[in-house]
Symmetry: C2
Subunit: 343 residues, 2 copies
DNA sequence: TTGAAAGCGCTAACAG
DNA sequence: CTGTTAGCGCTTTCAA
């Protein structure tokens, strides 16, 4: 299978010739910048159609110092999260006439020469960047910011000493509400917490919410009740297996995310515990499959798609006005299903 | 929050001045094209570092008529599918030094002027395109192909009269194997089929596989046993509810995708039928949550991530050599869990 | 209302 | 080994 013929662009010059006008005029009609006689414009449009002309993004970008593209840098994140985020991004980027350049750092490999060490997505090919937690070296973030390059950070605080707009969830509040539900409605007293890896910000705030809820109800915090779930099914499962083996007493588990909740459920099931009768389990995120679990998982819904939308909006605001909200925290909602003991 | 200062690029000219050489020399060291004295090169690298220089993609693109970017056009597809595909694309694009420009047609809105009617992703800003089923108007596909613009199609046959490389799954074979398992292992005789919407290619081939399996085992095809699942939970559910209401007899359901299998399960459950004892259910795709269903869903795994990888490879091959496989069908695998009656 | 001309930042012959 | 010189295709003053 081969191409019918080699790619051949017609340029603005061809259009100008065909329409019998100057390049400047063609440019004017395309961009509706400056006055053009209606009749002239018609001739130009005809020529454009005739020649099947498409303006070169590169040339335009060069001339205008603007790419109309926004870059997204992300790490190797969960399927559901990635997809939901992408949908939010895609929707608003398109709405504002921008195109999305995506780069996933999961697969970074060794580059051949020194200049290729620059990121595939950055100042050279975008008007601004949306950077996901930990996908990018802080030094690189600082470098770009120092140059005045527009960026918003997803889901994390900026590196020390710089002020870059951030967007995240109301992790603490959501976690607190979840745990208060466990305490106030179901009267659990020994609630275990399955944290992410140390240093993870989401997990940190969720743990704070957990502790606040305990404190608010006069339940002492017991360090023995927190273990590492690592935002991962397998890790969470073995942590809970450990707990079971050492006969740790707990009547409920609050997992820092749904994946670790699944791991916990599986450990419990294999140990013959019933959920929620013997141990209640709740999670955080509300990924797609949570409602299909047995029992359906009670959790906190994080508005991921909305994060994508807001990120684009903040970034464009930053690009256009050099201003943006320093921090926007998107509200979560409690999703009560059966794994907490309800119904 | 405001930028520290306005964005300011240093250009190759600045670097040349700083290093006391010509732009050509700088270009040579950056791209390792043509010989440069080691000592000169060092001076250039120093200047690059000093000025924090990053070459402009637009300028480079203009000069080289090459963007090093591949475009992806997709429709509004399921989260799992999207994420898996993206991972495949991202991984190989990066591997070959390309960047991914993504465009989702789900949100297409009205454009302001005529030239903006060109796609956000296309000949003007990419070296080639990966186009997903039905995301793009056939006329546009043909237009691009006529110009010799490199494209590969995901998951569909090309429009009439053009030869564009396609990549898909071995739908027919996978479906046939699945249904043969139902017949040969479990001895089901009345197997219903939950199709996608009429015209859907995947569904078409899966139905063919279903029919082949029936034929191979001497089971007559009964049109009453095929209904529309629409690749959608809700639609599948109401179709099965209909079947139940009209007391259609069937001992197994082969759903054209996992989502409709889920809908079917839910209809059956609510009617008090046990799965797989009363009715067996199997699906196609093996989305993430299938193994978490109760009972875990027997299905056919489609190698989605691999589709992404192969698509990039074929496209690059097409770009570089103007040749590519006309059609590559990726093999599926049977994933036997419990909903078919096994275990 | 239109055109001429000067770049935007980079690459690529072609000389030297 | 290095510099000079043209562009790449488009936008944008500045004049007319």
């Amino acid at each position: 299978m081969s191409n019918s013929r080699s790619v051949s662009h017609s340029t603005i010059k061809d259009v100008a010739a065909q329409a019998g006008v100057s390049k400047a005029t063609v440019s004017r009609v395309i961009n509706q910048t400056g006055p053009v006689a209606t009749e002239t414009a018609e001739r130009v449009w005809a020529a454009i159609a005739e020649l099947d002309f498409t303006p070169s993004t590169a040339a335009r970008g060069l001339a205008m110092r603007k790419t109309n593209t926004i870059g997204m840098i992300l790490p190797n994140i969960g399927n559901y999260f990635l997809a939901a985020l992408f949908k939010g991004l895609a929707r608003s980027a398109d709405e504002y006439g921008y195109t999305l350049l995506m780069y996933s750092t999961q697969t970074r490999h060794v580059r051949k020469n020194r200049v290729d060490l620059t990121l595939p997505v950055g100042e050279h090919n975008t008007d601004g960047l949306i950077v996901f937690t930990d996908a990018l070296d802080p030094a690189e973030i600082i470098r770009l910011h120092k140059r005045g390059f527009p960026m918003v950070l997803l889901h994390r605080s900026p590196p020390e000493g710089v002020n870059i707009p951030c967007i995240g969830f109301e992790n603490k509040k959501g976690a607190r509400e979840m745990v208060e539900h466990l305490i106030a409605v179901h009267h659990y007293q020994r609630i275990a917490f399955l944290a992410g890896f140390p240093g993870d910000e989401d997990s940190h705030w969720r743990e704070l919410g957990y502790r606040e809820a305990l404190a608010a109800h006069g339940i002492p915090f017991d360090p023995a009740l927190v273990g590492v779930g690592g935002f991962n099914e397998g890790i969470a499962k073995s942590t809970v297996e450990q707990w079971l083996k050492q006969e740790l007493k707990f009547d409920a588990i609050f997992a820092a995310d749904d994946e670790s909740a699944i791991g916990a459920m599986s450990a419990l099931e294999q140990a013959g515990k019933r959920i929620p009768q013997d141990v209640a389990i709740v999670g955080f995120d509300d990924i797609e499959l949570s409602r299909y679990l047995t029992p359906p998982l009670t959790t906190v819904r994080a508005p991921i798609e909305q994060v994508g939308r807001v990120a684009v909006e903040q970034l464009l605001h930053l690009i256009q006005t050099e201003q943006a909200e320093p921090l926007v925290l998107l509200p979560t909602t409690l999703v009560v299903r059966n794994s907490c003991g309800c119904l």
